[in-house]
Structure formats: structure tokens, C-alpha cells
């Protein structure tokens, strides 16, 4: 917007600002970089930079049955959360976008409630509810709880896609004889599919990284990766966690890049 007609302030006058901003950026990104580097260390001590390199912590991670089981549980739950939250969130966003319902404000508030209600309260409440209906330590319970937390992100992402889409196109398709479902599937869907994919990616990572609610409602055979990590961190600082953390960081980078690429094409 203002790139070619910027303010009459030179970059040199702004040098202090760039230094300050750069330092804050460093503060934000340095911990992740340090962990990635440390995960390739050969030492059990926390030395930085590491004296010798090895993949031993990755071998420990992939070799340990406990860590592997926890990872599988987390992947399963995240995939199922995506499969549930994406269609539900898309349907909800479609309905909200029409804006004709009388209680649109209330509906919006309800759907985004899980962003506002303190997550610790959701954790304790879900545990309390699940204890009554036998859903604690089950995959189903985890998927339901994570779906509720992922829903607002899917709704908001798809909604922003729908806002830049002209709903009249769907009306035209219907007036030309297409059924409701066909009109959505063949006309609307292809034009908002990038938003839907982004929403699905956000749902995946929300579920995969979720800690607090999982702490309460997962356990035993359905212990998630984050719960196991949390408990491991409570006891001692095990360098295996550096290797796992690196995997999680790489996962975030990959998912964000995919979302970014999809977003740009949109």
C-alpha cells in the first residue's frame, strides 16, 4: 500500500527500531533453534553447542515402545479429530455465513466458546462428565473433546473463505436445476476448498499439540504424546524430549507451510 510512498524517514533513522525488533524476533525463535540443535547432541548433559553429534536421542525415541504408543495415539486422535471437526465446522460456517438465523450472535458465541473458556476448566469439566459416562481414557472421548477445541478454528477459517465467495453462484446453479448438495459440492466447494484444507490442518495441530484437556482425560493405553511428555518433564529433563520436540517443530513447520501455500493459491 505505502511501500513506494513511505514516510520521509530513512532506514538509518530507524536502525534502533530494527535492532530492537530483531532482538525480540530472536527471543521468539531462539528456543526452538536451540532445541533442534541440542537434539543431535551425543551427551546426556545439556551442553550448547554440543561437543559431539549423534542420533542417539532419536533412536531412544523411536526405539521406545512407550513413546511410540503415545505417538500413535496422538496421530490417531488428531486424524479422527480432523475427520469430525472439518465437516462439522464447514457445515456450521456455511449456515452462519447465510446470516439469516435469528440467533446468529448467540450461535457464534457458542461455537467460539472453547477459545474463551479457560482450558483448565474445560479439562476438569470434561473429566468430570466423562467419569459419569465412562469416556475417560478412551479414543472416542479424546476425539470429542479435541473436536470441540478445533471447531472454532475450522469455523473461522472456512468463514473467512466464504466471505470472499459470492453465494449467488450457488443460487445460479440451483436455478439451473442443480440440487442443494450438488450445487454446494460442484460450485461452492471447489472455490472454498483451500480454506477448508487450512481449517483441517489447524484442527490437526490443535489436537496433536493439545496438553491440558488430554492430561485429565487420557491415560493408560490412550496416553497421548503430550501427556507423556508432560509427565516426563515433571520428573527430570530427559534429552529424548529434545528429539521429540524437534519432530513436533518440524511437523508445525510442514503444516504451516502447506497452509501457507494453499492460502496463497487461494
Amino acid at each position: 500500500m505505502s511501500e513506494d510512498v513511505g514516510l520521509p524517514i530513512s532506514h538509518r533513522q530507524r536502525l534502533w527500531l530494527y535492532c530492537l525488533g530483531g532482538l525480540v524476533l530472536l527471543f521468539l525463535i531462539a528456543p526452538s533453534i536451540i532445541i533442534v540443535i541440542m537434539s543431535f547432541s551425543d551427551s546426556t548433559l545439556l551442553q550448547f553447542p554440543p561437543q559431539q553429534w549423534s542420533l542417539r536421542w532419536y533412536q531412544t525415541y523411536f526405539g521406545s515402545l512407550e513413546w511410540r504408543d503415545a505417538t500413535i495415539v496422538s496421530v490417531k486422535v488428531a486424524v479422527m479429530t480432523v475427520l469430525v471437526a472439518t465437516p462439522l465446522g464447514t457445515a456450521a460456517a456455511y449456515a452462519i455465513n447465510r446470516g439469516t438465523l435469528r440467533f446468529n450472535g448467540t450461535i457464534n458465541a457458542l461455537l467460539t466458546a472453547s477459545l474463551i473458556v479457560p482450558v483448565i476448566l474445560i479439562g476438569i469439566g470434561t473429566f468430570f462428565l466423562y467419569a459419569r459416562i465412562g469416556l475417560n481414557n478412551t479414543l472416542t472421548g479424546l476425539v470429542i473433546a479435541h473436536t470441540v477445541q478445533a471447531l472454532p478454528l475450522v469455523v473461522l477459517t472456512v468463514l473467512s473463505g466464504l466471505r470472499s465467495y459470492d453465494m449467488n453462484q450457488e443460487r445460479v446453479a440451483r436455478s439451473l436445476g442443480a440440487g442443494r448438495v450438488a450445487a454446494f459440492w460442484q460450485v461452492t466447494m471447489p472455490q472454498i476448498r483451500f480454506s477448508i484444507v487450512s481449517g483441517a490442518l489447524f484442527a490437526f495441530i490443535t489436537s496433536f499439540d493439545e496438553v491440558v484437556v488430554s492430561l485429565f482425560i487420557s491415560g493408560g493405553e490412550t496416553t497421548t504424546l503430550t501427556r507423556r511428555m508432560f509427565n516426563a518433564l515433571r520428573d527430570q529433563i530427559d534429552p529424548t524430549i529434545a528429539a521429540i520436540s524437534t519432530c513436533l517443530i518440524v511437523l508445525s513447520v510442514v503444516l504451516l507451510s502447506v497452509a501457507q501455500i494453499f492460502g496463497r493459491r487461494h
Binding site: 500500500m1 510512498v5 514516510l7 520521509p8 524517514i9 533513522q13 530507524r14 527500531l17 530494527y18 530492537l20 525488533g21 524476533l25 527471543f27 521468539l28 525463535i29 526452538s32 536451540i34 532445541i35 548433559l45 456450521a92 449456515a95 447465510r98 439469516t100 438465523l101 435469528r102 461455537l111 466458546a113 472453547s114 477459545l115 474463551i116 473458556v117 482450558v119 483448565i120 476448566l121 474445560i122 476438569i124 469439566g125 470434561t126 473429566f127 468430570f128 462428565l129 470429542i144 473433546a145 470441540v148 471447531l151 472454532p152 477459517t157 473467512s160 496433536f208 499439540d209 496438553v211 503430550t226 511428555m229 518433564l233 515433571r234 529433563i237 529434545a242 520436540s245 508445525s252 504451516l256
Partner: protein, 308 residues
Amino acid sequence: MSAQTALMQEKAGRSGPDLNTQALHMDARRESLRLLALLSPSLLLVFAIIIVPIGWLFWLSLFDEAGAFSPANYARFFEQASYIKTFITTFKVAFIVTGACVLLGYPLAYMLSQLPRRAASICLIFVILPFWTSVLVRTYAWLVILQRKGLINSWLIDLGVISQPLSLANNFSGVVIGMTHILLPFLVLPLYASMKTIDTDCLRAGMNLGADPAATFRQIFFPLSLPGLASGVVIVFVLCLGFFVTPALMGGGKVIMWAMRMEQTTSLYSNWGAGAALGVVLLVVTLALLGLFQWLLGARATGVWSSR
């Protein structure tokens, strides 16, 4: 009788009294029902997982351990010193972390808003990436950096600055540093978004009229950026109040915050009434702060989430 009325009467006679209106009305109602059907699975889930348990916990909090209806669970917040200490710690952490986020986040957001778009979007990656990295991973990173034999201490000892390791982790400062790092993007992203909407023409006009850069910033840019700053501050503060992971892992058992207290009362002591009361008050404070913000600025604090 005018010709128009006659025509209308004739029409009505042919197609029955407002048949069209009736059909349209039916159609609108059917449409509403269809939209509700699309919404109902989501609403049902949210209702079952959030509204029902919270309502249930609220009900529980109204009864004491003997099962009698009493305000005992709430009264103890004012009577027991340990609860008062928890609240003081929580608000202390929340104020310090929010302040630190403003001090670090404002210059960063300002810089991002002034950079050319390409450079800004590259820098923005460094804000968004930590945002999407697990809170556990980042807390672990700070544990590694700050602990007794951690990076900071070993560097400082190697450099000869200190002889004894500083205690940075497992105490108040560790919690503050870790939480500041985790919550900083929540302040920067809405602030940056609102700064981007400030019209550069206003600033240029100010400078044309003779204001130096500092005055332009102070008198034009800063006031215009305040709504964005306020929404960031409210989000960070509210998230601080209910924060669990970092204080639980980095507090060394000494920094007991609100959410930890809730976990302890319910899991450790199985005192559901007391834990539920803590949760109800936390929710009320959160909603009150968000409501106050919305009322003051007429904006929705949840807007930040769409910028993720």
C-alpha cells in the same frame, strides 16, 4: 374504485388470499430449519462438552462437603491464606507477563508494520511459527536454557561473569520468562493487524505540517494503535489467569497459580466443590474482562484467532 385496486382484487381472486406470501414464509422457515440442522451437530458437541460440565460444576460448587447448600466453597477464598496467596501470585504473574509482552511486542509490531510487505511477511514467520509450536516444546526449551546447569548459567560461568549458577528456572522468574515467550504472539498479531490499518496518509499529513518523526508517532500513530494494543493486552492477561502448563513445569512447586490450584484441589484432594468454585470465579473474571473490553471498544477480542 381505482383501476389498481380492481386489478389487485382480481389477482387475489385468482390465486387465493396471499398464497404467495404464505409460500414464501414456509420456504423461509424451511430454510432456517435446514441451516439449524447444519449447525446442530456442532452446537450439540459444544453444549455437551462445555456448557453441561460447567453448569454441573457450578451446581456442585454451591454445596459443602457434607452436601448441604452453602457458600462455603466461595467463602474459603477470603478466609484461607493459601487461596489468597494463589490469587495474588496469579495476578502478579499476569501483570508482569502482560507488561513484558507490551514492552517486547509493541516495538516488534511497530517494526513489522513499517517494513516493506515482503520483509514483514518473512519476519512474521518468526512470530507465527512459535505460535503454532506446542506449549510443551517451548516450556521444555526454556527449562533447558534456564535451569541450574542450563545454557545461560554455563555460559555466564564460562565467561566468568558469575561463579555460582543463578536460579532462573523452577521459580517465579522462570514462569514469567516462559509465559512471556508463549504469550507474546497473542499480543503481536492483533496489534500488527490493527497497525496495518492505520492510514499512512495521516502520518504523512502530520509530517507535512511540521511534526518531527517522534511527534508524529506520539500524537498520531500511537493513539491510533491503542485499540489493537488493548485487544492484545486483554487476550494476554486473560490467558495468563488460566495458564497451566508453564507454571506447573517451571514453577518448581513454589509458584502456585490459579489453574494449578484447580488441578490440585480436584485431582489431589478430590475436593470437587472447591475446585469447581475456583473454576466458576475464573470464568466469571475472564468473561467480565472480555465483556468490559468489548463494551469499551466495541470489538471482539476473539478476532485474533482468525489471524492465526
